[in-house]
Symmetry: C2
Subunit: 313 residues, 2 copies
Amino acid sequence: MLAVMKRLFIASRGNPEHLAQLFRAELPDYEVLTEQPKAGDPKVPFIVVGRPLPGVIRAVPGIKLVLSLNAGIEHLLASGEVPEELPIVRLVDEGLAIGMAEWVLAQALSWHRNLFLYAEQQQRGEWTPQVEKLANKRRVTVLGAGALGRPVAEHFVRFGFDTRVWARSRHDIPGATTFAGMDQLLEAARGADILVNLLPLTAETRDIVNANVISVLADGAFFINGARGGHVVDADLIAALDSGKLSGAALDVFRIEPLPADDPLWKHPKIRLSPHVAAPTHQHMAVKEMAANIRRFESGEPVLHIVDRHKGY
Amino acid sequence: MLAVMKRLFIASRGNPEHLAQLFRAELPDYEVLTEQPKAGDPKVPFIVVGRPLPGVIRAVPGIKLVLSLNAGIEHLLASGEVPEELPIVRLVDEGLAIGMAEWVLAQALSWHRNLFLYAEQQQRGEWTPQVEKLANKRRVTVLGAGALGRPVAEHFVRFGFDTRVWARSRHDIPGATTFAGMDQLLEAARGADILVNLLPLTAETRDIVNANVISVLADGAFFINGARGGHVVDADLIAALDSGKLSGAALDVFRIEPLPADDPLWKHPKIRLSPHVAAPTHQHMAVKEMAANIRRFESGEPVLHIVDRHKGY
């Protein structure tokens, strides 16, 4: 076993002192720094980082492992700030998955039970019960079968929806029909009443929700995006909402965030926006997960959730 | 075993022919009538009824069992149309419970994840992420532990909410804290962030959601009513919304339905209305359940879901 220096640098631009306190509670034998270590300082094997400022990571002496504060690491990879040989751990905390499931199910159940429609009727003082379908008459397709997609799919199965899951590789999710690989994407989406995107953003998945995919959904389908704005061709989405092919969309993520004031998504009557809050990081849960990974590294055990740079997540 | 005449009268004022077709499929050996049988006709032991017109039930020769088309039977009891000695079966179909759980969870998750607030922000073009709480930091109190209350409570437990259930008598619901009897009502409701009403409407539960109960909830709590309008003192509800004690309410049921055009509930900005659709009867599921009860009666087995007139449900 290598002797690892018990030092950790938190490079968050948000509230590093709050994070530092949480880490000190989990790793009481560690020195937790919030100021940039310099060449010549004692070695600092661990860095916790969100979106790094230029040069910050490379300036840390003896750096061994980069722990991302975000589940999506495409910005970190694209920044070029992480040397090739340095492993990156992406954030997979249970809090993220729980939060995402709540947000997706809130949107999906609200649409399924016509609550958006009833809100419009209430504005007009109109009392018109709709024909309420059973969940087993609704097909849901979840794109993504990882730490976020799987628990969401399991909730849909539990509520009785006809649930399909598509991912890059084959997964087994009890009660759901699963599909794998680009060849099966259209088959997975065909006839879906609700399409949920929870994919990682990679070269392969960029623009994946486009006119082509939307065209095979059921007429009047609902689209839910909890992943990244870059997955969606906004012009295709808006065209489908305007034509009635889609009856609505719930979007938590956008190509530019905060969403610019003049973006047409703000005012579209069929779009429900939220400001990137679907899967908030609950810091104390995230810190527990990262601390456990640091302990694994320390004791020579395999570190979990290492990013595969070739796949991009 | 008594020989029972295999005849059934459907007194629904809605679409009796559609119901009759469903019953004929489930009970192919039965004669299913949709026209009022008269004295002197062969005996008709079973009647399926929603809100009976005066004299309809008493005019059926040889009537033995009344099957309600509704889960709530307070109108049927209050009508005085069912002779004292005649057993009433209330509708308990799986579809009702499934539908209610979807509607309640859609409302509860939407409030929990601030979606009503984000909808208001979207109107103003405002991007302000709220602090998103974990479900285990939210207390939910469900009033009612029967065919509707229990599955709803189970969903809340599964999503990780701090779940409490109150009912007339003691129930055991894994993962939830349970309370029984009027003495424990305020204790059950104390500190609740979400209050869900799924009680039957009886002399005891009428007006149960009043200023007294609301006063013990957490500040800014959310109220969800999927049961009956008669449970709620509307003036107390509106006062609590106006003072900020409650941050919102989702109401599916009202003292008068359809809700009269001049009712202040229509326009209150913190109220989300739906037109009595939370637990729609899915006729084919309801008919299966009623047919099974008719078969039990036929073979001398105990009939399920007999109304206790003393309790009122």
